[in-house]
């Protein structure tokens, strides 16, 4: 095994995958003619590909899944166009699509018996992973608030805390407990804060209570007719401060 072989192994793999640059083909051919080890590797790679196709199962989508997805796509395409939002020239039946989407989301979330706090953390992590924290990117609460109009059957309160060191970055639609909910996104240095808001089942006010799940800090409270969950990898004191500021801002 030589450095030359190291280099040529990637070339022979590229040849195997149909990605070899013609400029390198002559170089590879010369090496293979002189190096039995690489020539053997080339045959083994071909044999491995053959065995992978012959012995390893290909997981076709189950029929029921195919039917669900097909119905979902058909429903989305059938959605009526009912202009009612000034922000969008045409707002087709996003809400109708959403109701269907929420029904699908019911099957997806929670991740098997997760409580709401676990779901909140899961949604936060998935948004971070997908780099899709915001659907509407704006630091202006007067742009973020109307964006939810027509997308939800309630109007979440939106407040900016830029002056207090927690600038609003925007909002997104998420799914929790089988229903679409609003998530407001704030930033503190390099940390993102998700604030989930949805209508409360009762009007009981609940003072903020914190907990830690999977390394994320959570604070939950109820106020007016809404439930609030803040989640972040911020330190607990800083998240508490965020919640205090948010509740006192108007």
């Amino acid at each position: 095994m030589t450095d030359d072989c190291d280099h040529n192994r990637l070339l022979l793999q590229a040849e195997h995958d149909g990605e070899l640059n013609p400029a390198n083909a002559a170089e590879l051919a010369a090496h293979l003619a002189a190096c039995p080890a690489c020539a053997a590797t080339r045959l083994e790679m071909a044999e491995l590909s053959r065995r992978l196709r012959a012995e390893v199962p290909y997981h076709h989508a189950p029929g029921a899944l195919h039917a669900r997805i097909a119905a979902q796509l058909a429903a989305t395409n059938r959605a009526p166009t009912t202009p009612r939002m000034p922000l969008h020239r045409q707002l087709p039946g996003f809400a109708a699509g959403l109701a269907m989407a929420a029904a699908v989301a019911l099957a997806i979330l929670p991740m098997r018996g997760a409580d709401i706090g676990d779901q909140v953390v899961g949604s936060h992590i998935r948004a971070l992973q997908a780099a899709h924290l915001v659907d509407v990117a704006s630091s202006d609460q007067h742009q973020v608030k109307p964006w939810f109009d027509g997308r939800l059957d309630y109007a979440p309160p939106v407040r900016d805390l830029a002056a207090q060191g927690f600038p609003l970055e925007g909002g997104r639609l998420d799914y929790l407990d089988g229903r679409p909910v609003s998530a407001l996104v704030y930033r503190r240095a390099r940390h993102a804060i998700d604030l989930f808001i949805w209508p409360a089942a009762s009007h009981r006010e609940r003072a903020p209570a914190g907990r830690v799940t999977s390394g994320y800090n959570l604070v939950r409270w109820s106020e007016g007719d809404m439930v609030f969950w803040a989640v972040s990898d911020l330190a607990q004191q800083e998240l508490d401060e965020f919640v205090r500021l948010w509740r006192s801002a108007r």
Binding site: A61, P92, L173
Partner: protein, 174 residues
């Protein structure tokens, strides 16, 4: 911006046409049948919401990128929740990533077969292998789906194959 209405022409066909690829990738990434269906459904929701980012064409790499990110989100959530995997072949489950998983693999391959050896690859090697060998994506598309440079794709593919070739490749290198 989320999709605000009927899908762009051709996208419905593109999504359905790539449903098997989406499911196969999800299944190999999360290694759990029920979770794979959840991941595919959620990825389809995301694809619908972000239909505006579809650039036409067969949509394969575009959809698989969404599926891949959704699956990694699911894996991260599971890690954070410290759940035990549900349906693993005993002995086939390797932590993601193990310190030297390739070396540990070669002995097990003989006993568990090629499918188990693929399932036991570290996820960053496994996804490159599945996208290349089963979906026949180009290096460029694999790089896009997995979010790494093409050179990294090539070296991960090589490491995956070397691990699957097992003892015979080890002997050649010795």
């Amino acid at each position: 911006m989320p999709q605000d209405g009927p899908l762009p022409p051709g996208l419905e066909q593109a999504l359905l046409g790539n449903l098997n690829a989406a499911h196969n990738l999800a299944r190999w990434l999360v290694r759990d049948p029920a979770a794979a269906e959840d991941v595919v459904q959620e990825a389809m929701l995301r694809a619908i919401r972000y239909a505006a980012s579809w650039r036409g064409g067969d949509g394969r790499a575009w959809l698989l990128e969404i599926v891949r990110n959704t699956a990694h989100g699911w894996l991260a959530a599971r890690r954070h929740r410290q759940e035990v995997p549900m349906d693993e072949t005993p002995g086939a489950e390797a932590p993601d990533p193990a310190p030297d998983p390739e070396a540990a693999l070669s002995g097990r391959q003989e006993r568990l077969g090629l499918a188990a050896a693929v399932a036991a690859l570290p996820v960053e090697l496994r996804e490159c292998l599945v996208l290349r060998e089963f979906e026949e994506l180009s290096y460029r598309d694999i790089a896009r789906v997995t979010g790494v440079p093409i050179g990294t794709v090539m070296s991960r593919l090589w490491r995956a194959r070397r691990a699957l070739l097992g003892t015979r490749a080890e002997r050649i290198e010795a």
